[in-house]
Symmetry: C2
């Protein structure tokens, strides 16, 4: 059966390819894993005992390490995961031992408008259905661990209100005296449930909870998910979980999951989730899918543990950072690499002609709405103007000391003249530039990209952090704002300023990393500003403390932690063939 | 290592036993399953492709089928699951090919006060940790399928409020016009989260959902869980899901998941969950753990599919019904057996001296509080008085045409004279009676029980339903109230009466089963009335329609679908050994 992405939907390609996929045991053995390091989940997926494998592989040569990032995306995404998988497949065609790591797709987008996030066309991860639904249950475990903390906190608030100290002492409880106006976390659910964004809980009598304002966020925005992505081992994860700040007491002191005696039980939900999940590309290369934190509020990277494993197993290990280089790559560069001790040998910067046209002044691109004419016919003016955005991202990557490889993720509507123009502009700015047709042709379409990556990896890398951890918080924020985003300055709300000063005084600012929260739809904080915005100031509205995950989060503009489900969501087209049990309609 | 339940906690026994447990492949092969019918989840658990296995086993001899039920329990439970597992182990000691089926424990009790529900002492299911946490993810899949329906409904209500018909038509939506005052379902979470029992959702602007009252229930109280337990195959499950009534429109018509176009996607969450999970007893007999519906509001039985499989694989298949015989067995008898086509060859009625003393007038038994003296020293007066409750349950089972086997689930504090008294009273009432020490001694302690079961299975059974489906709804309710619960009559609220009349007119009452919702803590609707209450009337406050699951639910008294977390819950004592990854503190 010939697989033609122009005539087939992603799930149809995946379903056909799954007929011939490698048994998981063979895939793992080819990657160099031993039987006792594998926990199979049926014949198509497995978890890998990271601790066993890493202990055995201690001292093994380190693979070349490649990060894939992108320009400022349209709401449709620029095919970053597709390019990651295409590159893995291309290196596979060239006979390289290659391994990859991507984030687990969230149920929110999968059932809403954007669809799953397992690549597309002939550059996909399979099996598609478990990747999109259920998988090995990691996101559910994160959801449950998170909600257990909320159960513990709200029940404790109720009991402390209802009982005096003597009665609390019978249950060996000391009064935590949580300030209901300073609760720091809400509940988690992995769907786009806008109706749960802002809720009032605990209504009813004195045994019906503690009445207060609350809300749900996407599970992938949970600090627990961020912890899963940055933990280096189970001990580290256990400690991070215990340090999650859930609220402040009436005296202003932190209240943690440890104070609620719920940190051990939360960790119990994560003892399997910490093991990376192994799947494969359409062409049979191994890919870890592990952790899926949001990139706008959390770190937005696949797990450190998966990269630790992947860089010990192959010659090349490809990882992916969420959203554009201003967000995803900046956090990869200054947070993830600092925490993991790994540094990249090459960085791929994905661009599409469609997104460049949007940045050049094309009409708004909206999920679920057909593209305007400008996007499907040649328009060199829009492309050239839009390259300003590409140049900004090239500059960002170059500041890390790595020469970026611009990869034009080709669509069949792109004109050759448009592609040539982008290559010329990117090369003039000091980047390598390639065009890649992995969506249409799989690994064979990504050979130019794969060769550029190999070349770059053979050159010396001068990777260095943007800032040192001794730099005070506000100075760091200003540096990121100016050097990465291109702002001319930073302003703070009174509340954010007070928090910044307190964090600096408490020396948090130098012990924890800085994880900026900003829209992915612009280099600035304003999603409407496309291209390369100039003459603007970054407003910091709040500063959150993710003490467990290990960073403070300065919030620029407004960040939504619970997206909404649209009026024509993907779930309407998903169904099951009751004869075969196969799921249809995923994309 | 000698395993002594008097000196070890359940998780310590389980952990020791897991060192020597059978690999899942061998367990399955001994049960008669083929490799390609198994989906291993690591080396200790597997799902079974029910469809493949049942197709191959079509025509195989049917095993003897045994249901385990109990007297009216204390809040601590009477060891029904422990006895089920003890009986399986006892039959194993006698060399019988035996298989069992129990419900999956809910995260609510596991992390709250009651603990896990995988047996206890030397009669347990292993591996304990996955049984208590995560498992194969079935409950999470039920939660997600359920909440996806809520996302679909609340988003639809928002869009219909915000957009006119022309705009809705662009998304191919017709106006459903859901009446916000007649929404039938809430959200699901598998914890005891009393703060989410009664909430106000959709607060904020017009894009923040639809503002209305709502609430969460335990996932195990969800109709989706009930459907998982009664579905006979995937096609049947798909159809049942589509018929779930989520609300009524302003004209009074039903609005279903099918109307929301979410039934297919909900089913996609359940394509793996429909396959039963295979684990083992401490002594290596196979046990299916599948579905976990509440017994007070839903059907409270392990799945029909697990029983279909188990009765084709062994000589004896043991299944379990939730709560006392008035609830669990009555639903097994008149709902599950009618839907499955199976009928029991024997019924075991579990009693404890502790519960009989409570029914005889002993002080209240409360979870988390030490037992009063009456419960740990000989007190024949309390036991004899409490046997009134046992006699009521014997009568219930006898009405099904099966002679019950009363099993005294022995505790080390029981006096021999107390046990002898119960045996005499049970035998005088026409039951078999045995005392069983499986908690202390495992299968060796349950030989008398196993032999009584074998004897009973060799006698002819005269199993018959209490009522015919042609019997009108109110007549059926009255029959159950009088014949099973011992009420002298039934009253209805105006609302319930109107619903009953409408259901009878729509002939729902004769197409759907009747699944009573009543407290498990009394034969009556009042949890305070112990023993065998007389001279009381059953009040029906509401009648719910679970059209997908296939029954109407007359609600007697008040039923709580979201329990509360206590002040000294189990999660405080659960932790992880970060060196080994083992979970500690489960019970």
């Amino acid at each position: 059966m010939e697989l033609d992405p122009r005539r087939m939907q992603d799930w149809q390609i995946a379903e056909a390819a799954e007929e011939q996929m490698k048994p998981i045991g063979r895939l793992a053995a080819e990657l160099g894993l031993r039987d006792d390091e594998l926990v199979p989940y049926g014949a198509k997926l497995a978890k890998v005992h990271y601790a066993k494998a890493l202990e055995r592989l201690d001292g093994a040569p380190r693979a070349k390490y490649i990060d894939v990032t992108a320009i400022t995306p349209t709401p449709l995404g620029e095919g970053k995961t597709t390019t990651t998988l295409g590159l893995i497949q291309g290196l596979g065609v060239l006979g390289k031992r290659v391994c990859g790591a991507i984030r687990q797709p969230s149920g929110g987008p999968t059932f809403n408008i954007k669809g799953s996030a397992a690549g597309g066309g002939l550059a996909q991860c399979i099996p598609l259905t478990p990747l999109s639904i259920r998988f090995t249950g990691d996101i559910d475990c994160v959801t449950n661990a998170h909600n257990l903390a909320m159960v513990a906190m709200t029940a404790r608030m109720q009991h402390e209100r209802n009982y005096d100290d003597a009665r609390l002492a019978q249950s060996h409880l000391r009064r935590l005296d949580i300030d209901p106006d300073r609760v720091q976390i809400g509940w988690a659910m992995d769907f786009c449930a806008q109706s749960l964004r802002s809720i009032r809980i605990g209504r009813g009598g004195k045994m019906d909870g503690f009445e207060m304002d609350s809300g749900f966020q996407m599970s992938v925005a949970s600090e627990v998910m961020a912890i899963l992505s940055v933990a280096t081992d189970l001990r580290d994860l256990r400690e991070r979980i215990a340090h999650m700040v859930v609220a402040y007491d009436r005296q202003g002191n932190e209240v943690t999951t440890g104070d609620l005696d719920v940190d051990g039980a939360m960790t119990a939900w994560l003892v399997d989730a910490i093991n990376p999940n192994l799947v494969q590309t359409l062409e049979g290369q191994p890919v870890f899918v592990h952790a899926g934190p949001f990139a706008n509020i959390a770190i937005g990277q696949s797990s450190i543990i998966a990269d630790r494993l992947g860089t010990r197993l192959g010659e090349y290990h490809i990882t992916e950072s969420g959203f554009g280089a201003d967000i995803g790559f900046e956090k990869f560069w200054n947070l993830k690499c600092r925490m993991s001790g790994l540094s990249p040998d090459a960085v791929v910067l994905v661009a599409t002609i469609r997104a460049l046209k949007m940045h050049g002044g094309g009409p708004a691109v909206k999920a679920g709405v057909p593209l305007a004419d400008e996007y499907v016919t040649e328009n060199l003016g829009l492309v050239e103007a839009g390259c300003e955005n590409l140049l900004a991202h090239i500059d960002i990557v170059r500041k890390s000391g790595v020469r970026p490889i611009v990869c034009i993720n080709s669509f069949h509507t792109d004109a050759q003249a448009e592609i040539d123009l982008v290559r010329r502009i990117a090369e003039a700015a000091g980047a390598r530039a390639v065009c890649s047709e992995h969506w249409l042709k799989g690994g064979q379409g990504a050979l130019e990209l794969a060769e550029a990556v190999i070349e770059t990896c053979n050159e010396p890398s001068h990777f260095q952090f943007l800032y040192d951890l001794t730099m005070p918080l506000r100075q760091r924020i200003e540096l990121i704002a100016k050097e990465v985003y291109g702002a001319k300055g930073v302003t703070y709300t009174d509340e954010a300023l007070a928090k910044a000063k307190r964090l600096e005084a408490e020396s948090y600012g130098t012990r924890l990393g800085t994880c900026m929260a900003k829209t992915q739809l612009s280099l600035s904080h304003d999603p409407e500003l496309k291209g390369r915005p100039t003459d603007w100031v970054l407003p910091i509205n709040d500063i959150l403390v993710y003490k467990g995950a290990g960073f403070v989060v300065p919030v620029a503009g407004s960040i939504r932690l619970m997206p909404g489900t649209g009026s024509n969501p993907a779930f309407r087209r998903i169904d099951v063939d009751v004869e075969t049990g196969k799921v249809r309609g995923l994309f």
